[in-house]
Structures are given as structure tokens and as C-alpha cells.
Homo-oligomer: 150 residues x 2
């Protein structure tokens, strides 16, 4: 069934497409991550967001370590099929720092200022589960320096 969707999507040379995750009711943009065809198929089949971790080179089921899952409310495709917009219901926080959104820094007078505080201590997201070390961006993402959302 999702083949009609997959065929409309233009994956890049690495077989990936960027996905903007937006909280469906508030409109808050939570994060940007990537999917390959398998991640997209799984997301459509399960209704839970599954991305492709570029750094770890494997499927990344959002929330698999932190518990901060994203349920899919609606998946949208842009006009030329090379970007997806996922309307999601984010459980808890999207960002590995414990903040609701990964976009918590804004340009203020030529510098970056933090505009949101953590809602959950990052240690609480990963500490007790034997998960990965402090991830880079979204909750569950890989270590710093390894790319957008894994």
C-alpha cells in the first residue's frame, strides 16, 4: 500500500529524505531527521516515527531508548517530493537535552540565546537504560559531530 507514497518521494544520492517533525496541534517544529525507504515504510506501517540514523547506520525508532516516542498523525510530502513533513504527537520531549524542541536557540543581537529550558533532565532520558552516550540532537540521537538527528 505505501508504494504509491514511496514512488512519489525523491530520495537523495544517499537514499535519504529530510523529515521535519511538527507537533500536530501546537504547530511547534520539534526536529529535523532523515528517513530512508525502510524507515518510511516502517513509519507508515506502525504509526510510530522511525528514522534512519546517519551516524549509526541503522534504523532509529524514535524513543527506543528515551521513551520519548512520536506517534504519526499525518505525513505530508512537498511539491517536488524531496522533503517530508510529519505531523506527530510527541511523547514528552523531542530533544536529547530534555527540551521539547531541538530549536531552542535563537539569534538575538547577533548571537545565539537559549529560549527554552529543559523540561526533563537529560540524565533521566538515558541514565537508567544503558542506552547510547549523550546523543547529539533529538532524544535518542547519536553523539555530537555525527550529523542531523543521526
Amino acid at each position: 500500500m505505501p508504494d504509491a507514497v514511496l514512488s512519489a518521494i525523491r530520495f537523495d544520492a544517499a537514499g535519504l529524505v529530510p523529515v521535519v517533525a511538527q507537533q500536530h496541534d501546537s504547530g511547534e517544529v520539534l526536529m529535523l531527521a532523515w528517513m530512508n525507504a525502510a524507515a518510511l515504510r516502517e513509519t507508515l506501517a506502525t504509526g510510530r516515527l522511525c528514522y534512519w540514523s546517519r551516524s549509526r547506520g541503522r534504523l532509529w525508532r524514535k524513543g527506543e531508548t528515551s521513551g520519548q516516542i512520536q506517534r504519526l498523525v499525518e505525513l505530508r510530502v512537498d511539491c517536488d517530493g524531496d522533503t517530508l513533513l510529519a505531523l506527530v504527537d510527541q511523547q514528552g520531549v523531542a530533544c536529547h537535552t530534555g527540551r521539547r524542541s531541538c530549536f531552542y536557540r535563537a539569534v538575538r543581537e547577533g548571537a545565539l540565546a537559549e529560549i527554552a529550558a529543559p523540561e526533563i533532565p537529560p540524565e533521566a532520558l538515558y541514565g537508567g537504560e544503558g542506552g547510547p552516550p549523550a546523543p547529539a540532537r533529538a532524544a535518542d540521537a547519536p553523539p555530537p559531530g555525527t550529523g542531523t538527528g543521526g
Copy 2:
């Protein structure tokens, strides 16, 4: 002044960073495009969104042909600095199809359905200006098959 911002941004191997453009008041996600350092500097200096057209290989001042410009309200940076969120005030429509947002298709029962109609005939965006042929995604973007937002 924007050096403090630029230094926080991790451009990819091609010197680019993805930028999500969101209407500042409604929260609607309008499009995704790319910036290099020059585009980002210009955007911060002028307060008008300037992207990097990947297909044309040049700066793309959003609205330069169509008149559908984006004024910058706030620029946000994600936790690992490799994605930007631009809160904008979109003049008219963002999409070259005449629709407000490029994300006008949604998955419905395993296929893509159009969920928004054009607000402006595409011909009206480009017809009288001797601009580029029907662009790929965002208003002013390059021909199909050439990449996200140019």
C-alpha cells in the same frame, strides 16, 4: 556580528545547511530550502530570506522573480547546529504551484491526496517577468528534478 551565529552552524560537506521556513504567526511549515554561509549572512543582514539554489549554483533571494518574499522574524538553530528554523512572514505564497505551503500533499489511505488548492495561478507568479520556467518547488525555485528548493 553574525560570526557568533555562523560559528555555531555545522554546514554539510557541500557547505550547506537545511532551513525549515515556518510562518511565524500561524505556525504553518511553508517549505524547506538550503543556505550556505553567504546566504545566511545576507539573510541576517537584510532581514529577507536568501537561500542557496543547489541547481542553479547561486544565491536565491526568495521572491526575486515571483514577488513572494519572506521577511525574517526570527532565526533558530537546532541543538547540534546542523538545521535552521526560520520564522518568517511570507508574502503571498511559498510554493511555485501557487499554494501557500509546499507541503500540500498528504498520505490518505496509502496514497497521496492534495489537501490545499492554489491561491494564485502559477502563471501569475512567473508569466510576466521573464523569470525561470516553472520552478520545482518553492516559488522561484528551479525546474523539477533539480533538488530541494533549488
